[in-house]
Symmetry: C2
Subunit: 331 residues, 2 copies
């Protein structure tokens, strides 16, 4: 049965039946004009919105509907994590081609609901709209942070160490593997299909005041460093030899004569977190690492004074940081 | 210059330059991973999301980019008004075809910013994404209401009077006028292009406890009555002769041999508000009418006991309420 055949109201009923029960702070959940929420006292509300579009962010050839639902929420939870917020609720706006199967819409919702459940996030409402074009899944997520414990991109200062969570390059290499028909076995493919937002790490870094700035790597490390440097008006010097590159991605690119460092720095979709950590925050950082050991944190460089100097150092030689990925630009 | 030519970062800079300064309760505004907001003490957060899609909700032949920006925010403010919430902030998610002109994107943002300014709404953040399909403008809006003063669709009881704000039929007739090339002079066309969310009225009805339930008429009166009846498990009996039909719409349909009552009851996009008002709330209702005289409120019928009885009465004769508009169904 297609979306056009079932009709809007029946489709909505199917979707609502698949969502977990909202938490007690959701006073009015899905189905009314809006959701009503009661954030805690003395909390700050943090909200973000991010869409995934068929043919731009995913291909149905490489991702299942459940992968798409997972990704649409994951990219928003990653934004909240980059603000050091505790995720609480999400709104799901589905822009659906009439030809989509209802069963696929249900799988998409299941993929999203499973990730929401793991992070205690209530799907508090949303909207369904038809389109003559590709699928768009637009999610808005809201969370909380105590006053003055949230992290922006603007707090990095010269002398702060640059820390990176987990590994980079996996998602980009995974997409290349899928396109080349290399099979489904690699962990890189999982990283492309099911990005894992670093929710606990982001919250811990904010609560412990271990970091002064943070952002997530949706468009890759090179783009992330540029964004945080611009917002904080600092430069960066990265140690290219220290970068935690996904081993599967390193092997994939090495075998193809591609420089793994450049490819990993430019590749997007890893959704790792980047932090600016003052040297004197060592104690707070160790405390975070004791409480959140996965993913690990790697020191990859330092923020510097000159906002125009974006530098990667390899074997003692300095180069300009490669360009990041920009969705709109011709290339 | 097209969206594809300018690139994402430059486009974002253009958009940010056109937004009014956010209010003091917006601690972090557009440009970071997420917005940070500080809702007031003892307030409830109300959030909603609604998208407008080119070719489904509007046609570029009949609406300017500024109309589209206005509409995308208006439909969300209307949802907040239907919950009796004070609108505070909005997030703008733009899913843009690469061929759109940057100037048109700017006009769209201007149309949205003008409406936001009139209602004291801060555009607190958003997202830009490219698409190979039609334009999608997805807005999430957030507002506040004091505890227990918000209105859902579920609070109507048998014996409550049904009140409707303003007039219906104008937007539907306006779209027909545009399609027939009837010119731009009618107020009906303005109602199609620039729906006016009933923000002050919704807030006043909630604050005064004049109503027990409310919803907005995005998909028309017939759909609205069905939704509120289903959520409240009551029936409805409408006085077809009392309906406040837009005079221009009535004339348009009458001249074409179309029954204006049926057309106005089925037609969508008026974004008026529907309320369930207990008979004993007369004092509160009069107080609201003194403070908010525009749009006027009309009593159009009564909620009844039998949830299956959805009835329209005309010249003493009862008929079944016409079907509402459903975006997905074949017709």
């Amino acid at each position: 049965m297609t979306v056009a055949e079932i009709g809007e109201h029946a489709l909505l009923a199917r979707i609502l039946a698949r969502l977990p029960r909202p938490s007690d702070s959701v006073l009015v959940g899905p189905g009314d004009d809006a959701a009503v929420l009661a954030p805690g006292r003395n909390e700050r509300l943090v909200v973000t919105t991010d869409a995934v579009v068929e043919g731009v962010h995913f291909s149905r050839a490489y991702s299942s509907p459940a992968d798409v639902g997972h990704r649409a929420l994951a990219v928003n939870l990653s934004d909240l994590a980059a603000m050091a917020a505790t995720p609480r609720w999400a709104l799901l706006s589905l822009v659906l081609p009439g030809s989509w199967l209802v069963a696929d819409v249900e799988d998409l919702v299941d993929g999203m609901a499973a990730l929401a459940g793991r992070h205690g996030v209530s799907i508090a409402g949303g909207n369904i709209t038809r389109t003559e074009g590709p699928l768009v899944v637009d999610v808005t997520a809201g969370g909380e942070a105590p006053p003055r414990r949230w992290l922006t991109r603007g707090g990095a200062r010269a002398g702060h160490d640059i820390y990176l969570s987990g590994t980079i390059g996996g998602a980009a290499a995974g997409l290349e593997m899928l396109k080349s028909g290399a099979g489904d076995a690699s962990n890189c493919i999982v990283r492309h299909r099911r990005p894992d937002p670093r929710v606990r790490l982001g919250m811990a870094m904010g609560r412990a005041r271990a970091a002064k700035a943070a952002m997530d790597l949706s468009d890759g490390l090179a783009d992330g460093l540029r964004q945080i440097a611009a917002a904080s008006r600092v430069g960066v010097r990265i140690d290219g030899d220290s970068l935690p590159i996904d081993p599967g991605a390193r092997e994939w690119w090495s075998h193809r004569g591609i420089d793994p460092v450049i490819a990993a720095v430019r590749g997007g979709d890893d959704y790792e977190l980047l932090f600016a950590v003052p040297p004197k925050s060592g104690g707070a950082l160790r405390s975070v690492r004791r409480h959140v050991s996965d993913p690990p944190l790697t020191r990859i460089g330092v923020f510097t004074k000159d906002p125009l100097a974006l530098v990667i150092e390899r074997a003692g030689k300095q180069d300009a940081l490669p360009e990041g990925f920009e969705h709109f630009a011709h290339r």
